[in-house]
Symmetry: C3
Subunit: 308 residues, 3 copies
Amino acid sequence: MSEAMELKPRPTPAPDDPMAALVDALVDAYDREPVGQAGCAALPPREAIVAVVEDLRRVLFPGIYADESLPRASLRYHVGTWLCDLHRDLGRIVRLSIAHQAPERAAEEVRSEAARVAAGLLAALPDIRHALLEDAQAALDGDPAARNIEEIVLTYPGFEAITVYRLAHWLHRAGTPYVPRAMAEYAHGRTGIDIHPGATIGRRFFIDHGTGVVVGETTVIGDDVKVYQGVTLGALSVSRTFAGAKRHPTIEDRVVLYAGATVLGGETVIGRGAIIGGNVWLTQSVDAGVTVIETAPTLDFRQRGARA
Amino acid sequence: MSEAMELKPRPTPAPDDPMAALVDALVDAYDREPVGQAGCAALPPREAIVAVVEDLRRVLFPGIYADESLPRASLRYHVGTWLCDLHRDLGRIVRLSIAHQAPERAAEEVRSEAARVAAGLLAALPDIRHALLEDAQAALDGDPAARNIEEIVLTYPGFEAITVYRLAHWLHRAGTPYVPRAMAEYAHGRTGIDIHPGATIGRRFFIDHGTGVVVGETTVIGDDVKVYQGVTLGALSVSRTFAGAKRHPTIEDRVVLYAGATVLGGETVIGRGAIIGGNVWLTQSVDAGVTVIETAPTLDFRQRGARA
Amino acid sequence: MSEAMELKPRPTPAPDDPMAALVDALVDAYDREPVGQAGCAALPPREAIVAVVEDLRRVLFPGIYADESLPRASLRYHVGTWLCDLHRDLGRIVRLSIAHQAPERAAEEVRSEAARVAAGLLAALPDIRHALLEDAQAALDGDPAARNIEEIVLTYPGFEAITVYRLAHWLHRAGTPYVPRAMAEYAHGRTGIDIHPGATIGRRFFIDHGTGVVVGETTVIGDDVKVYQGVTLGALSVSRTFAGAKRHPTIEDRVVLYAGATVLGGETVIGRGAIIGGNVWLTQSVDAGVTVIETAPTLDFRQRGARA
């Protein structure tokens, strides 16, 4: 992947080459409308962020994600290697993202801040792992098709999305730009579950199936909440004047939101233990312990000719 | 990727290294709450399962998935190589999953059962391929945007999901743990279509677009059924006491379920040839030949000021 | 990946090998129901199409997708190398797809047409890049959670889907078979957003969240349109007799379609500046400047016992 290596065998096109005009047009386009500055202050490449997410998952659950030939006796050596590599790789993407956002800061200061952030996330891994195993237990309790914790860690998209959320949220709170959102979108792409890393989510969170779930940036979710596919916790207004304000709802402990339910607005509170039925659309608060269902829409049953 | 190779150049941190405490904390966490046992009885790694799915697709449709330089004359040689490799790789992931579920069983017995399962799936490939080409033909018949069978095999997410389902379902029926579900979640992640490998699905099944489709574990689907994006065939109760019971609906032959339709419950039967309209929510059975549509919800059309 | 290399160490199974019957059964199946002809006229392999998409994204936004060690001074050299490689790789997949569709055409003629198509798309890249940056600006204007253009290019799935659409649409208009649809399905798999490359989409298009969005083949979308997750722009009939006809709606400038809105039919026109509320289901046209919302369905709020 070394770009520099490719230079000698294939030099840039000569000026009389029709490709030369294309190169000029593109480089002009970069200069006219720069994005991410190709140069020293480049953003961390997306695949580097993805690699760090995968390496974090391996160190959280080596029994699921590591190579099978991992004898218990040498586990400490492996974990040591993984953590050293992660400290370097995570530190690098954090450093690049801070340097890109604040190009005026001294390189050494950025480097040491990035190293601190990376060490902090690694130190938090045992707690994050414990929280994730509580989430997995909630999935096991809530899904009759689930066989055991291993199956959930290995296969449940909701668990994958929550894993990435808990890692990305830690970095978001540490003030790291770009990286948390890129992690979240990686999980979104793989699972269809779109949790903004700024959201606040309590313990034992369970998302079943999950495709189409959206959890907005300023959402606050309590403990023991269950969410099904297609649930949106969103904003009422998308005016940029609301950037930074609480635009997304508060979901208290033990709430269940069934498939397709939509709850909008920063002042909307779904009270403790409430149950929100499938496809219900709410822009108002709901008291604790209340069940909200849509009055069944009238269905029209019509017998056709002899086709069946 | 050899873990062992990495040991010498980068040994585990020395005890006075701040990283050492981190290693200890993580290894303690693994011991307190073990998941998938990092050791001899490890689960098959997810990427090994994904590689087997891709290799199965290549041997099913070499004209689509194999490298272009595949001359007809040497096809038998390639297929022989692929099948030998698949027998080994599929056998290995089946063996690891059985050994993980039943660590008390003798290694040799597990190994020979896994080899039998792998050989069985390989022997079933011609029939599975024929069934899949019937599914592709149903897609071609049902989608005016489709140009030919090749385009469907190469590009349709519904076809990808059904391909993985038919492979995973075979393994599910053979009693293989973990692997079928991991295969299904790989397809879910790529397509947004979530078909549990335990579901029973007839011939010429067509899923159009597909994002958000959920087909539960005990669903039974007949022949010539068409399903659009966002259709849920789900359960009414998620109590674990229903594990193993029929919790998901029965869809008889020639039923069409339009986008966003939801059918719930193990005793709900959608009769032969019925048509279920978009967004209809059903927890009751529907007779053969009946069309069900939601009575159009009242829409409110309001002219705004001079904005347009 | 060279298939030919594998032949010597692992020859095809001997006739008395049980694997031989399997090989025969599969090769017979290929012959009985050929798909994509394993041979000279093979379709371009899917991963080659994916690689070209990724290479196109890198040359569009090297500040985001290229390796960090890309000094400004050597940028022209890199771009030249990338474009030469793209001309070859894009030319190859276009050539394979044309040759597969029209096997009767002379190889040299197909080769030169493919080279022309590839050069044409590369020449269009500066304009496509400018259009994409307008799309990114629309996302920045429309989403309070967005921080800057870089974050949108790096992380927004809607931006990823539109990027691939604008590239695939160019190839679709150039008459290239298979490749545009395969590109679109790659983006669909990663983002949950399904835009047919045949759709016509104006400037400053913004898709937020995006999971479940479907934009059909003959849809026409004006400028400054905003679309939220789960919006379907679809067809009323799926009879193959409508292949080629305008089956999908027209969305005029400045229309907003909120989450889950469905607009169906080739003669349905949503007029300039109209706003279509969440979950509204439309098969009729809407005048310019009109807001359409579903009359709030009756919700049933029921206090349960002492559970909360």
